[in-house]
């Protein structure tokens, strides 16, 4: 018994814990209580104590956007725990707290890591040569010109890339070097030869914007990333005319049937996985479709394990079941009403004779009905009225979106009409149609199946409905339609029955039918609350667009899209910049000049890294036998060049001439620039650089990478990057391929195109190891910035827990410094110049009307005239004041006030916002609203976006109302007076405001789901028909046989590229090679963290099945080598029965910097996961100029897919050297 006050030396808190001064020992030796008053436990108390807690987040390219508390003690960051103060989701739902993952929880390790980049570094051999030339010549620009112009000296520093030898340098010196390289390149080769790569702005908007703003001002090329990462689901723009829009994670809770399809939610969506596990308790059925027993499978009521890449077959067969049981055998009013109103299924498609049957061609339009159909008639689609049988041109198609006549009519109101879904029973005839199939045939183009549709004549053309075509495509026989049809679900001979799919996927037909049926039935009884969460497992394939269209068919037929708890959930790299309007206009410096040089990343790298030189197949390999031979004899590079000159895709570097020179020439000739460019192109004197990527004048010269690990993470075809772009050692054994027809082939491939590679980072990635300059970045706990995501509806802030340590700097400040250094040198070398941009036909602008019917007309082949903005890119000039870049970086330019800000076709006027910002941010000496610091940039982004400024969202809806003629502005009215400031986001995650910038609604506190506004408010989708489209009628889609959803198998790499191994039977096994996201690296990077290494196996691994391991005598943890024509990888084997035979996984972003020995195969350092991959362009991803097939940054463009690849695995000697 102790009087607590009598315990010496103890404060009341400690005393409260001590009740005994003696041990109390129980009879049988159990010491139950023993408390010592000595205060020994202070050690743990002190460890827990801290001085402050600072809110920040992780700016990595994952979609987490989790709010974290960073603990600081004695001026040092100690650790981080998740914030738990997200605004509530409501009383009947789980909350967002605590969002985070083990990767994020260990991030603070980097702050003081021994591999933290603390100072600027330059490779010694370069720095020495630079200093010599710089001091001798006095002028930095001339020094850079001389150094890079001297092949021997240039070769010397390029060869040294990736081989150590960094030396410390000072910021001023390095920035001057970089500025000199930029100025010289702009002057000598053109601004479009200066390139920037930084992905996923949502993860740190100001940091992204700093670099892109600088590059936009000088005319540099900005590479897209969403398509490059193969995360962009091409099907989304194709079907919806929308990049990607998905339900927030809390909406999973509203689902009653959730299929996780190739999406390993516990690993890739860790912070939100609980909504899935918890929804099960509310009675939601959960299905996992995964080739392996992934982390998510253990939560699933059913596990379907198709062979990798056959998901499309599975989905098509489910679609067969849904169409059979819910559209043919009986009709579900909810489904029928939905597809009539919100999809293109009732619209008429022309049928043209081909051989002894017909093929579908194009949508019938108002232009087909009469000669005088009025404005934009070729973009107004037609259906038959169920009652009258007469053709109707309903509101809402693209023809109503632009032009005066469409004012107030761009809406989905059917005005009392009931569209006829089918012509069955109405048509005069039934005709045979030939449709493509790809499960058989001598090429990737497959073969043909013959089925039948009811048809009738309208406007002198034979037509049928999209629905009737869909029934034929899916093989659902009706009435006495002609053609060959499956005999039933058990008929394995005909696409797309469950039995047919079983043979391809290995999933039992009965299971396929059951899941398809359950999915639809659930949607019927819940009115659309069935959901498919799809992941990279199904999206990184060459034909992912087709896989996805098969998925989307399921959610569209069942009326799930635009419904809370239903629809697609594409959770693949999609990160939503919620305050998109302010962000993109500031990031691309649209306050000073418009537009900027956005570039499709994959097309750029394909040429820049010379991967185009290694093709063994051509585009015609993919053509359907029903195509018109448009790709005959043409390589993928040829297709890309055509897309460039027809104005479909951007193409930078653009011409084989400095664009500044083009302007000078036009001025000298006294003609308009556009006229001059057209003349020069027509004469053949001027060519697109994409037609001759091997010409040194066409090389990209200066590349800056920030917030990214290009060479250790996303760089598909890594070895080609190293060899051709950098001139470093590379392992590829690939032989050169078929020569293109139009693109010029040069016998000698260049090694080392790039003059300067800079990376801004806080750790030594592969990109840093190979860079010429490594600049020390502040981490995410050392700067101000903004974060948002599609997974939750909040915006929140980064805050510095400590000031940037050592000589590190925030990205924002790095680019301000670079801009200043650039301006100083530019004043002497560049001054004011006119830049000439070739701008592709843009999405959400009247450019969508440029090429009616999606007919391909090539001016170069004399099929039409070269008309800028119609048959070729728009030619736009920008006056650049190169000496003013530093100054302009820091202030908002005049164009916001003059032109407003335009997002997705809606223009926002921002007068009051600029006044308000001037008061908050202050002004520059030149009188512009200040952006001099990152927090001011954040403030401006928030003020200029509808999601964070209720006045703007209301204004935007009012603008839109004038076009749609429907009521919308009430969606934002509840928040019209709300303004989210940067201070708000610093204090707590802030819920955003419903805005026309996005398609869903948060109004009244509901969960965000994509296209809710379209469905509930009759707002059209941004497509040709204004509806969700099953049918696509561009010429190239016809050529590829992809007018309708179809199953296209993974590319047959063995057939195209031959056996990859050395043929050592028993010692080698050839397997499918997949690179899913890792559990032990922060998203696609950051695997080098000590905690993650401790919890994984401490270096690169490849997961193998028991069967494959046994075949080549590999035990768990043995060293193995994986190789194919593209490269070599060394790793340890993880042998597990959760892996299916015939497939290995090397988890993404196994960088080459940790525990990677030398290979036996080559004697050099083993490669990264992307050493085994190589790019392949799918021609349909290049389409442009037509309706939803028009270009926008990260909206359309070829994907950098990599899943179709195969590799050889062999057990190597177990002694390794480094």
């Amino acid at each position: 018994m102790t009087d607590i006050d009598a315990v010496p030396g103890m404060g009341p808190l400690l005393a409260a814990r001590t009740f005994f001064t003696r041990s109390e020992v129980s009879a049988d030796g159990r010491t139950l209580h023993q408390v010592d008053p000595s205060g020994w436990d202070r050690f743990y108390r002190d460890r827990w104590a801290h001085d402050k807690v600072v809110r920040s987040t992780h700016g990595v390219n994952c979609t987490g956007s989790c709010s974290w508390q960073v603990f600081v003690k004695d001026g040092l960051i100690t650790w981080e725990h998740q914030a738990t103060d997200y605004p509530s989701v409501g009383p009947e739902s789980p909350e967002y707290e605590p969002r985070g993952c083990p990767r994020g929880a260990s991030f603070s390790w980097y702050t003081y890591s021994p591999s933290r980049v603390r100072y600027p570094y330059v490779r010694g051999v370069l720095l020495e040569a630079w200093r010599e030339a710089r001091s001798r010549l006095g002028d930095p620009v001339l020094a850079w010109a001389e150094l890079t112009g001297d092949p021997e000296r240039a070769r010397a520093y390029k060869r040294a890339r990736g081989k150590g030898g960094f030396v410390r340098a000072e910021w001023d010196e390095v920035l001057e070097l970089m500025a000199a390289a930029h100025v010289h390149t702009v002057k000598e080769y053109g601004p479009d030869r200066v390139v920037g790569f930084s992905p996923i702005p949502a993860m740190s908007m100001a940091s992204f914007a700093a670099g892109t703003r600088f590059l936009s001002m000088i005319g540099g090329t900005l590479l897209s990333f969403y398509d490059w990462y193969a995360d962009l689901p091409i099907a989304s723009p194709q079907v919806w005319g929308d990049q990607t829009d998905v339900p927030e994670a809390a909406d999973w809770w509203n689902s009653r049937y959730l299929i996780m399809w190739g999406s390993n939610i516990p690993v890739t969506r860790t912070p939100d996985a609980h909504f899935m596990t918890e929804a099960r308790y509310q009675g939601t059925k959960v299905v996992a479709v995964s080739p392996d027993y992934a982390d998510n499978v253990k939560f699933a009521d059913d596990w379907l394990a198709p062979h990798p890449g056959t998901d499309g077959a599975l989905a098509m067969a489910m679609g067969h079941v849904v169409l059979t049981e819910f559209f043919r055998e009986r009709q579900v009013p909810y489904f029928t009403d939905y597809v009539r109103k919100y999809t293109d299924l009732p619209f008429l498609v022309t049928l043209e004779p081909r051989g002894d049957a017909y093929v579908p061609r194009r949508f019938l339009t108002a232009a087909d009905l009469t000669d005088d159909a009025g404005e934009n008639a070729a973009f107004k689609t037609v259906f038959l009225d169920e009652e009258t049988g007469e053709p109707r041109v309903p509101n809402g198609s693209l023809g109503f979106r632009w032009g005066e006549e469409g004012e107030g009519r761009w809406n989905l109101d059917l005005a009392g009409a009931t569209p006829a879904l089918t012509l069955l029973g109405r048509a005069g005839r039934a005709v045979e149609v030939d449709l493509p199939r790809f499960d058989e045939g001598a090429t990737e183009g497959g073969s043909v199946m013959r089925r039948g549709v009811p048809a009738t004549e309208v406007g002198g053309k034979l037509v049928t409905t999209v629905f009737d075509l869909l029934m034929a495509q899916y093989g659902v026989p009706r009435a006495d339609l002609p053609g060959e049809w499956p005999q039933g679900y058990e008929d394995a001979a005909q696409p797309y029955t469950p039995a047919w799919a079983e043979e391809i996927t290995s999933v039992p037909a009965a299971t396929i039918a059951r899941i398809g049926r359950e999915f639809a039935r659930n949607a019927e009884v819940t009115e659309g609350r069935s959901m498919i969460a799809m992941g990279a497992g199904t999206n990184h394939w060459f034909h992912s667009d087709q896989i996805y269209r098969a998925f989307l068919t399921l959610v569209l037929l069942t009326g799930c899209q635009g419904v809370n708890g239903g629809g697609w959930g594409h959770y693949v790299g999609q990160e939503k910049v919620r305050p998109i309007t302010g962000f993109q206009h500031l990031a691309f410096a649209f306050d000073w000049q418009r537009p900027t040089r956005h570039m499709a990343g994959t097309a750029f790298w394909y040429l820049a890294t010379d991967q185009w030189r290694y093709e063994q197949i051509q585009a015609d390999e993919l053509s359907s036998p029903l195509g018109d031979g448009l790709f005959e004899g043409r390589s993928f590079a040829d297709c890309n060049a055509q897309a460039a000159r027809l104005g479909w895709l951007p193409s930078h570097p653009t011409f084989n001439r400095n664009p500044l020179t083009l302007a000078d020439e036009a001025a000298a000739k006294g003609v308009g620039v556009a006229e001059h460019v057209v003349d020069e192109l027509r004469s053949g004197r001027l060519r697109f650089a994409a037609e001759d990527p091997g010409e040194p004048a066409n090389f990209p010269r200066v590349l800056t990478v920030w917030r990214a690990n290009l060479l250790g993470s996303s760089g598909k075809g890594n070895e080609y990057f190293l060899r051709h772009l950098l001139g470093a050692d590379a392992e590829t054994r690939n032989r050169e391929g078929i020569h293109p027809t139009e693109v010029r082939w040069r016998e000698e491939a260049t090694e080392g195109k790039l003059d300067l590679l800079t990376t801004i980072d806080f750790r030594m990635t592969s990109t840093a190891l190979f860079a010429d300059i490594v600049l020390p970045a502040a981490t995410w706990y050392e700067k101000h910035d903004l974060s948002s995501t599609d997974m939750h509806p909040f915006v929140h802030a980064f805050n510095p827990a400590i000031a940037p340590p050592w000589q590190t700097r925030a990205d924002y400040d790095v680019f301000l410094g670079l801009a200043d250094a650039f301006s100083e040198l530019a004043a002497r070398h560049l001054g004011k110049r006119t830049d000439v941009l070739a701008v592709p036909l843009a999405h959400d602008t009247p450019d969508e009307l440029a090429q009616p019917g999606g007919r391909v007309r090539d001016w170069k082949h004399g099929e039409c005239e070269p008309i800028p903005g119609k048959t070729m890119p728009k030619i736009v000039t920008i006056e650049r004041d190169y000496a003013a870049v530093g100054e302009r970086m820091r202030g908002i330019g005049p164009l916001f006030a003059e032109l407003g800000l335009t997002t997705k076709g809606v223009t926002y006027r921002v007068g009051p916002e600029l006044d308000d910002l001037r008061a908050r941010n202050g002004a520059t000496p030149e009188g512009h609203v200040s952006l001099a610091t990152a927090d001011r940039m954040c403030e401006a982004i928030l003020a200029l976006s509808g999601t964070t400024n209720g006045r703007l969202s209301t204004q935007g809806f009012e603008t839109l109302e004038r076009r749609t003629g429907t009521r919308l502005a009430d969606l934002a009215a509840e928040h019209e007076g709300k303004r989210i400031t940067f201070a708000d986001t610093r204090s707590r995650p802030q819920p955003v405001i419903t805005s026309p910038e996005w398609s869903g609604s948060e109004t009244g506190g509901r969960r965000y789901s994509a296209f809710v506004i379209n469905v509930e408010r009759d707002k059209p989708w941004h497509t040709l028909t204004g509806r969700q489209q099953f049918f696509l009628d561009h010429d190239w889609m016809i050529e590829l046989g992809e007018q309708l959803p179809a199953y296209r198998p993974p590319l047959n790499m063995r057939r195209h590229y031959g056996e990859q191994g050395d043929g050592q039977d028993g010692a080698e096994v050839t397997v499918r090679y997949l690179t899913p996201h890792s559990k032990w690296s922060i998203h696609s990077e950051y695997q080098d963290n000590a905690y993650m290494l401790a919890l994984s196996r401490g270096g690169p691994t490849i997961w193998m099945s028991v069967e494959d391991a046994a075949r080549i005598g590999v035990a768990d943890n043995d060293w193995i080598e994986a190789y194919n024509r593209n490269g070599v990888v060394v790793a340890r084997a993880v042998v597990s029965h959760r892996m299916p035979a015939g497939t290995v996984y090397m988890y993404h972003a196994k960088d080459r910097n940790v525990n990677v020995p030398l290979t036996e195969k080559s004697g050099r350092r083993g490669g990264v996961h992307n050493s085994l991959t190589r790019l392949l362009l799918k021609p349909s991803h290049l389409i442009g100029g037509y309706a939803q097939f028009t270009y926008a940054f990260n909206y359309y463009g070829p994907t950098g897919n990599q899943r179709d690849e195969i590799t050889v695995i062999r057990r190597r000697g177990q002694e390794v050297t480094y």
Partner: protein, 516 residues
């Protein structure tokens, strides 16, 4: 009855996503320092698997926990005082570093400092213990997601004990994750084994701690803990273990592992228990009776007699109120879905688990729910991939009925809620089969599914003004009368139908309007 309060935890394994965030936040906060590189107060194991340290569950090897001697008395498996004294200097039951793993670090600065050379710089593993180059052959989480399972997992003691052989084949794959911290047992073997009196269980909240000043590094605690959750700091030579984040608990905050649990599967709350009943509970003869024996030690916080005794014992009103709101009590006692880990160790652990439902069919054969009725979407729990015997080995000393009862209740909840949320149907047959009222079913659903922060964690802050009163209670004013107030009518009825003649069969179709 002597009423005492303990902070206890329940983890719902059915929600664990295996992310290991708990491990990382715990390690960052408590053990990212020299001497404890290999120590994870919180770790997550993939089951089946041998765990960390290897095969720690094999008490024939490690002699952890308690056993009954010939006369039915409790004694440490490690042996009596004399035997333990004899082994002070050469404890044969101590895991070696190999049983844990040799922690690695890397020569990180090489990446920046490497001179110009023939190859791309790389960092390679160095032993964190010796500093020498090493090959990584095992780790804290080597078996994650069944990595190497065909080779290693057959040695999982829970598998070895099973009558039916588990094949490590793709089609039959199952797994779940098992996060583990110190169990803060009611009858802690580590405390009993400590020769120095350095280990103790705190009176006010039951947290088991090692007094770092008293610890003499004898390591008897390490071998005696059957969960191997006491570790040696190889720098100080002293024992360290999970502290239940006592500085946070005292402030009314959840432990770090709980608060940062992204799966939202951890619950923290008070259990009132009868300190005088602990010993008897720990020495019931049949290990399968240990679960119910331990449940009988727990006191009903709604029972006026218990409340009176608690008050008399100096437990403050807000603690009593917290005990009444305790999610632990609800999960372990009211809904009876939480179970102790390895009750057969007889330590009466206080971190309990809801076993995983894992309702997956055979992926290949396509058998399962009634294919003709698309509204019957769930499978019977007889179709579960995880063998009941395996779960029973972990959570009920081998009694599969206990585990089945819990799983049945969880699946009944899913079917019940599906019917209710789709068309408002109240499936009374499901309530009957689960032995629950509609209100209880929905309360359980809310606690498991909606699980708001304030309901997951009910942790009262420490009272300094109550110290004197509690101290007085401990000094001899305990209410330790036979049975204690209220004990006589404390009969936990078999709401799972687990005991007595009310047993329910395993087969339970839980579709809409599901029926047993």
């Amino acid at each position: 009855m002597r009423v005492m309060a303990q902070v206890a935890m329940v983890m719902n394994l059915d929600k664990c996503i295996g992310c290991h965030t708990c491990s990382v936040t715990c390690k960052q906060t408590w053990t990212n320092r020299d001497g404890v590189e290999y120590v994870w107060f919180n770790n997550v194991e993939t089951k089946p698997g041998v765990g960390y340290p290897k095969r720690y569950e094999d008490q024939d090897r490690w002699h952890g926990g308690w056993q009954l001697d010939g006369r039915g008395r409790l004694k440490l498996r490690a042996g009596g005082r004399i035997k333990r004294l004899l082994n002070l200097f050469s404890n044969p039951d101590l895991p070696t570093l190999d049983d844990y793993y040799e922690p690695a670090t890397y020569d990180y600065d090489t990446l920046i400092n490497a001179p110009a050379g023939p190859h791309t710089p790389v960092i390679r593993p160095k032993s964190a213990i010796t500093g020498r180059d090493m090959a990584i052959t095992w780790g804290a989480n080597w078996e994650d997601d069944l990595g190497g399972a065909p080779e290693h997992a057959p040695a999982d003691p829970n598998l070895a004990a099973m009558a039916e052989k588990v094949a490590m084949e793709f089609d039959k794959t199952f797994m779940f994750h098992l996060p583990r911290i110190c169990e803060h047992c009611l009858n802690p073997a580590c405390v009993a084994a400590c020769p120095s009196g350095a280990m103790y269980k705190r009176e006010e909240d039951g947290i088991v701690l090692v007094d770092q000043e008293r610890c003499r590094g004898w390591r008897m605690c390490v071998s005696s803990c059957p969960y191997k959750k006491v570790y040696v700091n190889h720098k100080t030579g002293k024992a360290e273990k999970c502290t239940f984040c006592f500085p946070r608990i005292e402030a009314g905050q959840p432990t770090v592992c709980a608060e940062t649990c992204v799966g939202r599967l951890r619950y923290l709350g008070l259990i009132l228990y009868d300190a005088d009943a602990v010993l008897d509970a720990a020495r019931v003869t049949d290990p399968r009776d240990l679960l119910e024996a331990q449940r009988r030690v727990f006191l009903d916080p709604e029972d006026p007699a218990v409340i009176a005794a608690a008050r008399a014992g100096g437990i403050s009103e807000d603690w009593i109120e917290a005990a009444r709101r305790s999610p632990i009590y609800r999960l372990a006692m009211r809904y009876r879905v939480a179970l102790p880990l390895h009750p057969e160790y007889r330590t009466l652990p206080m971190v309990w688990y809801i076993p995983p439902l894992s309702p997956v069919l055979d992926a290949v054969t396509g058998v399962g729910a009634d294919a003709d009725d698309p509204d019957n979407v769930f499978h019977a729990i007889t179709d579960l991939r995880i063998p009941l015997e395996y779960l029973a080995s972990l959570f009920s000393a081998g009694d599969t009925e206990v585990v089945a009862g819990v799983l049945m209740k969880l699946s009944a909840m899913r079917a019940y809620m599906r019917a209710r949320t789709i068309d408002g149907t109240v499936a009374t047959d499901l309530l009957e089969s689960a032995g629950m009222t509609a209100a209880d079913m929905e309360d359980m659903y809310r606690l498991l599914a909606i699980a708001k922060y304030d309901e997951r964690y009910v942790v009262p802050a420490a009272h300094r003004e109550d110290a004197a009163a509690l101290s007085a209670q401990a000094g001899g004013c305990s209410l330790d009368g036979d049975g204690g107030p209220g004990m006589s009518d404390f009969h936990p009825t078999g709401v799972t139908g687990r005991r007595g003649d009310g047993r329910l069969g395993l087969k339970l179709f839980v579709g809409k309007g599901g029926q047993a």
